[in-house]
Amino acid sequence: MTASRLIVIGGSAGGLQTILTMLPALDPQLRAAIIIVLHRYNQPQSMLEDVLAAKTNLSVKEAEEKEPLMPGVIYVAPADYHLLIERDHTLSLDYSEKVHFCRPSIDVTFSSAAAAYGPDLTALLLSGANDDGVEGLVDVHDAGGITIVQTPDTALVDFMPRQAIGSAPVDHILDAREMAVFVNTFSNGPGI
């Protein structure tokens, strides 16, 4: 069975630090799947998955095309591809034009996750220096999902969270630890 709930986390400059704070506080029995989209340089052998895996007991892996989203697994968008979610809860990769000069683009993943998961989705937008992800939050909200933005004062680079708060419907503004608590509750809460 694929994961019936999904959390998508998008971040740019400073976003990794937020995620590293969140990860140890996540429930090791998490029943949702998590997708992380971070803007990163395209290097053939990236250490990102290892860096993340060191902070959690959940399994961490690079997202592969056609792979089903499984409960309790953290999927990381590969460098230089957009990551999309299909309605049958499998993953697709896409090497189309950059969006906001970014590939992977947070908007692309947020929007397709919204279409695939509707109200069973929470999107978290973290620290960053551009506005990729803001439009995606609108789509998540329109599809009935929950939108969360990192408290700007706690973000290393507060441009992205401030943009989101200024122009997207944001349900909650939380710091890293509060986000981890929210993710645990959302993942394992009633209705699953």
Binding site: E64, L84, E86, R87, S92, L93, D94, Y95, S96, A116
Partner: protein
């Protein structure tokens, strides 16, 4: 208010286009194609889905625009330089043993990767006995490829990729710059045959020692991927090579047992002898 075309409506359009024009996108992975259809719908400012659909069905010229816009044509020269050094080191020495070398580059888009490979062949002194069949579903990108004219703004990046791929020449010796564009040397284009081919509906047209198809299969669903991989299998000589994109794989496909992956981290497979 933002108009949005849902997946059911996208399927209607894809069925229209397949039925009326013969371009079949119904077995493409839905999320990406939905995104591109929506992008076009918004860019061309249609007031409603019905008007969009009517235009596609009734205006063949616009239908061609639809086909060209929903297919992805992003590419670059020497993309993933390590892939090209693997080709140079592990595939070219084998190709060199053939009297005539036939290569099929499927889904070549505007041809940047085709010219990259032609440069590899040239440097291995194999170009004179090679032919590269470069195909794509989209005829307008083939026209660009045929011309071999690319924006000069990209050359710095391409030159860096070329060097990372083990290139030893001065990259700029392969083209002539003219204002904002460069034209690649005619001797490269002379060995490339650009021609339309639709992987969904067209069959095999030759036997090759190498097929390159990178970042095309990711847009297909599993059953279409399998179908195309069988087409590649049938179009390869025994011990021929199949090269895919850096996130594509033969693992878990129905041809997995018919190929062996080369012993490195690159996405290059070799067809079994029997």
């Amino acid at each position: 208010m933002k108009h949005h075309i849902d997946e059911k409506e996208v399927n209607l359009l894809l069925n229209d286009v397949a039925g009326k024009y013969g371009y079949d996108f119904t077995e493409y992975a839905p999320a990406s194609i939905s995104r591109r259809v929506n992008h076009l719908f918004q860019a061309d400012r249609f007031p409603s889905f019905a008007e969009f659909r009517y235009r596609i069905v009734s205006d063949p010229e616009y239908a061609m625009r639809f086909v060209e816009e929903i297919t992805v044509n992003v590419t670059e020269m020497f993309r993933d330089p390590h892939f090209y050094s693997a080709l140079r080191q592990e595939v070219l020495p084998v190709l060199a043993t053939y009297p005539h070398i036939r290569i099929w580059h499927a889904g070549c888009s505007t041809g940047e990767e085709v010219y990259s490979f032609a440069i590899l062949l040239k440097e291995a002194n194999l170009l004179h006995k090679s032919v590269i069949y470069a195909t794509d579903i989209n005829t307008s990108v083939l026209e660009k490829g045929r011309k071999g004219i690319f924006p000069i703004s990209q050359m710095q990046q391409y030159s860096r990729n070329y060097m990372e791929a083990g290139g030893l020449q001065d990259f700029s010796s392969y083209y002539t710059a003219n204002y904002d564009y460069v034209k690649f040397r005619e001797e490269l284009a002379e060995k490339i045959v650009f021609s339309p081919h639709n992987l969904v509906t067209d069959g095999s047209f030759n036997e090759f020692q190498l097929i390159i198809c990178r970042n095309v299969l990711i847009y297909f669903n599993r059953s279409l991927q399998d179908k195309v991989l069988h087409l590649f299998y049938d179009s390869l000589e025994p011990l021929g090579f199949l090269a895919l994109g850096s996130k594509e794989s033969l693992n878990f496909t129905s041809v997995a047992q018919k190929f062996r992956q080369l012993g490195n981290r690159e996405k290059i497979w070799r067809k079994n002898h029997l």
